[in-house]
Symmetry: D2
Subunit: 185 residues, 4 copies
């Protein structure tokens, strides 16, 4: 099992990058191999069909797509921007959608978000579902939205609330079991 | 393998009921046991928390929930009403959401729709996804929206377009394989 | 100016009915005539095209549609059920969509919700927007979602938090000004 | 009255740019001043909070925001990418959301799309609504989705189907009347 962790924020101090690290630690504890990217290493131009026609796909697009193709499951940890998917995340997905079959096809995908406010980024994850489903991903039914995330992490990077930590554990177990099963289907 | 087929239209001559029959025939050919309900047999009042407090869940709710609990996969074939989920379908789901764990939890679910127009009911299926995901269902990434459905069926009830028929076959194979795999996870 | 207030919950003790009352009081203070219905008085069967063909529209449908046609603006205060629009609300809308032009066409509409949890019902309001837009309503850009609504109301029925109360005041002023303007357009 | 026309595709031969031109011609016939941008002139980096903290807003962001602030109404003509908002459009909106009040606040906004297939890009417009509403825009209830757009335009750039052309005329009249009314509210 190899799980790709994609934090959807470019800002280095992002709460979503913190949450991605906490998830990474939990997967490591379970003996799962992770590939945890820094989204900033995959800089792409804004999608433009003329660029694609002239120059083909950007190297960052094919590199990210290959990472996704090679994993057994994907964890996308992404903020909500203005009730929707962050532009940079959608832009990367739009570029990758030019590759057939889609790199996401058949991949089990777990969605998570963190935000300072009460809603925790959940509306952005809802907005992301139709796109990833269209691109062939099996989305874990539950997603994890961490509200008031500014106060949610301890010094060791873990979640301070035991209840919330247990909830995340349960979702990750469900994710890993499904990724294992769907790999064979 | 036992697959529940739930046509979401109450109207007996509905194109969605026709599509449900076509899907049923395809599952039968594959040797899959189907349980194909008439939604009209599951008449529930409009959801009202006071009715629930006074009288508990309606018999139709527990009957439909039990059907879902007992199946290995669910095919929901439903029209789109006004860019959204039909009121009767949502009402049945809302009643069933009062049962914990949700009857839909862990069930693999394939969404289909039929409509006379060009769009084929696809916007209603998109609107349904967040609700069924919240209620624990594994949604097949692809969904099947049959446009111009008034002209789509032959005398034997099958789809006249070979291309569209093959597309549906591929989706059903994917659905059955996943339902089998996820049952074990 | 005459504003119709439609609480979308059938349960008599609903937090959404409380919020509707608080909004009603604010409109009264502004000298605005309100028509505040009890949704339970508009009991309709589940939408079924065969019922419509045999018996026409239910009396409750035409009565509610007439209320909407006669108002200058609509306030819909509705819970979120399972990340979506409550079945009873969608069912009433689906029945009314059989009337052309739609009773909602050209009406300015303000959406509000209340819920015990942190999210406040906002996902249900997002799910409602495509439907009401399709049916011709001008939706006030902001909507009001009251989180932790169990603790939000004082003994006089008003909102205890001054900040939240001011926010609601601003939205209602925007709603009334737009309803006045759009009436003339 | 000054209407900003923003085609959301960067590709110069885009069907959405063709549709934007057709709408521009219709507004010109009505004596309305238009400001029709080429989105390629507003090249922004992918949104990154660290860039914002270090360098402030990109010049293209403030330029586009100023265009929006100065118009009386906005026509956004945008393709659908993978059932969602194109990454470049969302990225521009995300950058502009850092300006308070949002440049879109109080602006009447008409959404249109064109696509080669049967659906016409309508799912992307539905995905755009929550974001623009959150950012204070008054969205015209109807939106215009041009299906099979590869065959839809005549040599003069207008729509060949008289029915579809009339439908668009009606929507634009409604848009202009509302933009006029809401300007005063």
């Amino acid at each position: 099992m190899k799980i790709l962790i994609w934090p959807g924020s470019l800002r280095q101090g992002s709460l979503n990058r913190k949450l991605a690290r906490a998830i990474d630690a939990k997967l490591f504890e379970r003996g799962v191999e992770t590939d945890h990217i820094n989204f900033r290493d995959y800089d792409m131009p804004l999608y433009d069909g003329d660029i694609e026609a002239d120059q083909g796909l950007p190297a960052a697009t094919t590199a990210l797509a290959e990472k996704i193709s090679n994993c057994d499951g994907l964890v996308l940890v992404t903020p909500e921007y203005n009730f929707g998917v962050p532009g940079p995340v959608k832009n990367a997905i739009d570029w990758m959608s030019r590759i057939k079959p889609y790199p996401t096809t058949g991949k089990t995908c777990f969605l998570a978000s963190a935000a300072p406010g009460l809603v925790g980024g959940g509306r952005g994850l809802i907005a992301l579902r139709p796109t990833l489903s269209f691109m062939g991903a099996w989305l874990v039914p539950d997603s994890f939205s961490l509200a008031q995330a500014g106060q949610a992490f301890g010094e060791d990077g873990g979640l301070v609330s035991e209840d919330i930590d247990n909830m995340l554990d349960g979702m990750l177990d469900q994710f890993l079991a499904a990724a294992e099963s769907l790999k064979l289907s």
